[in-house]
Amino acid sequence: MVKVLVLIVMQTVILLGVAPFIVGLIRKVKARLQCRRGASVFQPYADLVKLFRKQPVVSTTTSWIFTATPYILFASTLLAGLLVPVFVSTIPLSFAGNIIALVYLLGLGTFFLMLAGLDAGSAFGGMGSSREAIVASLTEPAMILSIFAIALTAGSTNLSTIVHKTALLEGIVSDPSPHLMAFAALVIVALAETGRVPVDNPATHLELTMIHEAMILEYSGRYLALVEWAAGLKLLVFLTLIANVSAPWGIATSLEPAALGIGLAAYLAKVSGLAVLIGILESMFAKLRLFRVPELLGVAFILALLGVIFFYVLRG
């Protein structure tokens, strides 16, 4: 029981602690690629603390939904993170929800964020919610299908089992094609779900382009801090998912201190690597027009579908 609690607390601390770092790292990489020096990678931590200390301003038109949303968003994203193995392959909470539950937990946060966007009554919020609705609905089928392709290779939809089996190279059909396609689909899905270029631009406040920022425009103070933290956390959850599901090597498969240490180091290296990759991708591509996004997500869907087909057909 104590061990379980310790593991949960450790994972919570790591997720909450690393999330701002990832955000800072991506910003740094982008700055460097634009020949700027950029802020320190630890700037997001300072931002969070500052926001927490500011007095929040709440619009008079809003209801309790608006003030409750940051907490719900924070809790659901954190819980989604606790369902993913981070540095140990067998985690205590994995029985509480499999990969589909994770998708729906993220959906819970999205739902309330969309409501909060509408609650303020400004056109910005409504626009953000409306766009989030279409992006989310196009992402979901691709996500479910790519998840299924991955689950097929491991014969499970339980994240701990997938990671554990993949890490030990157990029962994995070693055909690389389905895995590769599902991985590519998942990367596109992650970019779309976490509001990165080419779907959304987290660095803009231009009404023509923003999605996530438009929904949270009315937030300030501690509410904004929680929303920003949750956004970083969501990004980290996706990176963790990609890193540990498709390349779980190095993850601790037992609870030995040495294995845990290696697992943690490997985890940090992997998510940092993926963050650098996202920074590079964001610098390479321009943001797509909203009505071109379906084409990108269509590609993700087809990739995932091909992953499933290939799994069955090539060694069928």
């Binding site: 055909d175 094609s177 990108l296 269509g298 590609v299 869907f301 087809i302 091909l306 057909v313």
Partner: protein
């Protein structure tokens, strides 16, 4: 103990074919003509790599020559010709299509499934290590054909035609470890001449209608 076991070898061939198929989807999804040409070049490189792999695994040497020709003609010469055409005509992207991109992607997904179902009874009969690629080859051909129907610009139709040809080549190496060398040389020559002719035809089309939209050809009937 050989360097690559037959199992890993055939998995690598599968992977190569899968990448070929992926680039097909890239071409279906891409609106920019020059990017389509680049994707075709990449596809040809993958094709050459897969063919080299097959040659290495089977020890059939003439496939090496075919692979080398693929790189030279399909990855370098033809893309250059097409890019010149694009530059000269100043058409950069395809804005209106007969089938929009997401629907096109879904249809192509369906075509892939169709190809798999058609080849499913045949595949277990084969004994070559490349047999799985037959399904992918058929899928590539179908997608190439579909591209020719779905797109309006002459350049993308040429690309669709070339994609079909790539599928054919893959199918030949999958089903029978390649055709006799003389046939392949002939095919390459045909393709090259075809590409040049279509390039010139595109110019004429542009001169005549001030557009490279082949749907304009319907005017000719009056």
């Amino acid at each position: 103990m050989p360097l690559i076991t037959p199992l890993i070898g055939s998995q690598l061939v599968d992977l190569g074919s899968a990448l070929l198929l992926l680039t097909c989807f890239g071409i279906v999804a891409q609106r920019r003509l020059s990017a389509c040409v680049d994707l075709f070049a990449v596809q040809s490189v993958f094709l050459a790599l897969t063919a080299t792999l097959v040659a290495f695994l089977t020890g059939i040497h003439h496939i090496y020559i075919a692979a080398a020709l693929t790189v030279i003609i399909k990855a370098i010469v033809i893309p250059r010709i097409l890019k010149r055409v694009i530059e000269r005509l100043n058409v950069t992207r395809e804005l209106v299509m007969n089938v929009n991109v997401p629907s096109g992607l879904l249809i192509c997904g369906g075509l892939v499934m169709l190809a798999f179902f058609i080849t499913q009874p045949i595949i277990p009969l084969g004994f070559l290590l490349t047999r799985d690629s037959l399904a992918i080859a058929l899928a590539i051909m179908l997608i190439g054909f579909f591209t020719m129907i779905a797109r309006k610009k002459a350049v993308t139709q040429v690309i669709g035609f070339l994609v079909m040809e790539n599928g054919l080549f893959l199918g030949a190496s999958a089903a029978a470890y390649g055709m006799p060398l003389i046939v392949e040389l002939g095919v390459f020559f045909d393709v090259l001449v075809g590409a040049i002719i279509i390039g010139i035809y595109t110019h004429r089309l542009h001169d005549a209608f001030d557009s490279v939209d082949t749907s304009k050809l319907t005017i000719l009937k009056e």
